[in-house]
Amino acid sequence: MRRLLKRTDTGIIIGCIFVFVLFSLWNPQQWFDWGNLSNIGQYTAILGLLAIGQTFVILIREIDLSVGSVYGIVGITFVSLENNNVSVPVSFILAMLLALLIGLVNAVLVVRAKLSSMIVTLGGLFFYRGLVYVTTHGAVTGVPQAARENWLAQLLGGHWLRIENELLLLLLLAFGCAVILDQTRFGSHLLAVGGDPASAESQGVPVSRVKTFAFCLCSFFAGLSAIVTLANQPQTNVSLGTGMELESIAAVVVGGTLLTGGRGTMLGTVLGAFFFTAVRSQMIALGAPPSWYVAFVGIALLVVVTINTLLARRLKSA
């Protein structure tokens, strides 16, 4: 029981069970409709991938506000390359390289120049979005039909046994990242850097390298999320991904990862993404104005953070 209480993701597990049961009882026909679940799965995957990347950065006590714009610019790059007759795999590789490059730039500014990650990535948020507007003149065309039928596009954006591939990819990668966090040297170093960077450094943990990897992983996942979204989507627009940075942070925090670093789980993050997605989709289905969702995210965050803080204090004194 104590172990369970100590887990940072206990709250979100309960929260997810609660919303699942609530929606099942409230409007079972609509909730269990395959199309509905499929939609929720797809959006959970998109937000979840972003949030997994964000988890790495938050675990090392930093933050990445640029993921929404990275999502945008990588997605637009992917689509634009395809529109210029570049093959899907090559577009994919180039777009992902761009994502890694952005992560590297963030890392260099934070690790080498010792700037605050909040400032660096806030700059990135505006800069990459601006770049999208400038280069596209505000308009992009969707992915051509031929490209959407490519095997890679189908692999990323298609479905398997009626389950969206995005969701399968999310579960696979989340599992992989959970293993990395819990079972590898890098994971241990990541938690150490987030918990106490000076102590980690004193024991020979390569703090700069760990941070650089975390930022690169974050941008990598943001880019992957964008490509997965667009791979099999007929159209797109330049505001793609706007606001996703805060949604991803919200999912991570609701999932139990502490903004103070060093504590958190990938399971919590994925459930956090599911939680927000499920609630949003049900609110729309029940006819609530979309603005309610925004208010709900705020309330959910406050409730979760309050509960987590109180629990942490009680455990400390226990």
């Binding site: 150490a192 450094e201 024991q203 390569p206």
Partner: protein, 266 residues
């Protein structure tokens, strides 16, 4: 093994600091300091705040290079200053406030920075069994509470237990030099005695122990040699038996002006 090593090492110092200076901008933290440290000895490094003790230690433990001067380890000149390099040479610095990540388990802290790896399908995974067993053994051997589970977060340990844990970790990784930076601050009387006892044991095992403290009376009881620093300079370097703790205290109190009282030829 230790007796043999000791016999050869009395000839040349394990760590030799030669004319080392370090300045931060206009501020000179260390000015032309030369000092030797030998294997199997405990040296008390004493001085007031800002005397340069910590700066000297930061250089020795590879956290920063000196502005000028040379550092030798086991006869070899150190050219690259990096904490990892110092660790590889067998040097470990135990500090009051750092060295332990409170959010990690006892086991993970024990292997922090040198986690054992077990390959599965070529992928390097943490060897959790080894982490658990080796750290449990150390917890037991160093007399920490038997109720401590190595999977528990280390924040459950008391201040003294954490210090003991750090020393245990430093020793079991076959180190040659243990630097203890104010290791007994904020500890209870009993915990303090325990830490000092451990320090003496390390020395007896043939390690070089450099013990930094404000407390001349405490260190005078256990060290072989006392080095006093003041304003970035070494003002005294005497064997314990050569001077009383009171006389040494006077040197510190008078800011090195009493250093002329140090017996000649030392």
């Amino acid at each position: 093994m230790t007796t043999e090593a000791q016999a050869t090492d009395t000839k040349h110092p394990l760590i030799s600091i030669r004319n080392v200076s370090l300045s931060y901008g206009n501020f000179q933290a260390l000015a032309d300091v030369s000092v030797d440290f030998h294997q199997g000895e405990m040296v008390g490094l004493v001085g007031d705040n800002g005397a340069g003790k910590t700066t000297l230690i930061r250089i020795i433990s590879g956290l920063m290079p000196p502005t000028s001067g040379e550092v030798y380890f086991d006869g070899e000149r150190i050219t690259k200053f990096h904490p990892k390099k110092a660790m590889d040479l067998g040097l470990e610095c135990i500090q009051q406030t750092i060295g332990i990540c409170d959010n990690l388990s006892v086991g993970r802290n024990y292997f922090l920075g040198r986690e054992p790896i077990k390959r599965f399908l070529g992928i390097p995974f943490l060897d959790k069994k080894k982490i658990r067993e080796a750290s449990a053994k150390v917890v037991h051997d160093f007399g920490l509470r038997d109720t401590i589970d190595v999977d528990d977060e280390i924040s459950l340990l008391s201040g003294g237990e954490k210090q003991t844990f750090k020393i245990a970790r430093a020793v079991t990784f076959r180190n040659r030099v243990i630097i203890m930076d104010e290791p007994t601050n904020h500890l209870s009387v009993r915990e303090r005695a325990r830490v000092n006892e451990l320090a003496v044991q390390l020395k007896q095992q043939g390690l070089l122990v450099i013990y930094i403290t404000h407390d001349i009376f405490q260190i005078h009881r256990i060290a072989d040699r006392i080095v006093i620093m003041e304003n970035g300079r070494k003002v005294a370097d005497v064997p314990r038996d050569a001077m009383s703790a009171e006389a040494l205290e006077e040197i510190i109190r008078e800011g090195g002006r009493a250093a002329s009282k140090v017996p000649r030829g030392l």
